[in-house]
């Protein structure tokens, strides 16, 4: 059970304990999904960060409607851990996933060249949007890990 709200199983239920913050959080999500960055890239980065931070809740909740509407390929989602060698992931997506992984694992290891590559792929506005999205996803994943009931890793596989 959650430490904060008996019976709570989702982030949304817990955020409603602080409605103002929940509204602000939702506004950020809305702006991110409506931004210039391909929502399929954002969703893949969100899920990749979830895996690295071991948040299985993010994998079990519905995929981003914006990403699905843009044509998110669930087969690619299921192959996300192999993105480096999987040719279905295009160059822009790989560049963003590389930044997402570096952001989560060692943010100080991000290089000038890496940021320049991302800017080349999705523009300066895209870099700002993507890094803000990564910060937002990291908050969500850590929030889930800290406050939601933990799920058995054996039932969720290595995603």
């Amino acid at each position: 059970m959650s430490w904060l709200l008996e019976g709570a199983t989702s982030r949304e239920e817990l955020l409603e304990l602080h409605p103002g913050l929940a509204a602000d959080h939702q506004r950020i999500l809305d702006e991110l999904w409506q931004s210039s960055v391909d929502p399929r890239i954002l969703e893949l980065c969100r899920l990749r960060a979830a895996t690295l931070l071991r948040n299985t809740h993010a994998w079990d909740e519905p995929r981003s409607p914006a990403a699905v509407a843009a044509g998110l390929d669930e087969a690619m989602v299921q192959s996300l851990s192999q993105w480096v060698t999987d040719d279905r992931f295009d160059a822009a997506t790989k560049t963003c996933l590389k930044l997402a992984e570096q952001y989560v694992i060692d943010v100080h290891g991000i290089t000038d060249e890496q940021v320049a590559e991302v800017a080349e792929a999705i523009g300066s506005d895209g870099v700002v949007t993507l890094t803000t999205a990564l910060a937002t996803w990291e908050i969500s994943h850590r929030f889930d890990n800290a406050l939601l009931p933990q799920q058995s890793s054996s039932t969720n596989g290595d995603r």
Binding site: D24, V107, I110
Partner: protein, 65 residues
């Protein structure tokens, strides 16, 4: 780690800082600023405790700003 901003300022005539860099994506920045303001102005935790948490988080994550 970079010692200078990696993106240009979005505001002509103004230097690079977190606000002018985030200005490349103004709607996202506005939304982020909104949540940041709520974190400081609402809730039960005293502001001095929030500041201590912010500084401790900055130390742990190696943020020198």
């Amino acid at each position: 780690m970079s010692t200078t901003p990696r993106l240009a300022s979005s505001v002509e005539g103004k230097g690079q800082n977190i606000r002018t860099v985030m200005g490349h994506s103004p709607k996202v920045r506005e939304a982020f600023d909104g949540m940041y303001a709520t974190l400081w102005s609402k809730g039960e935790a005293p502001v001095d405790v929030k500041e201590l948490i912010r500084l401790r988080n900055a130390r742990v994550t190696g943020c020198g700003l």
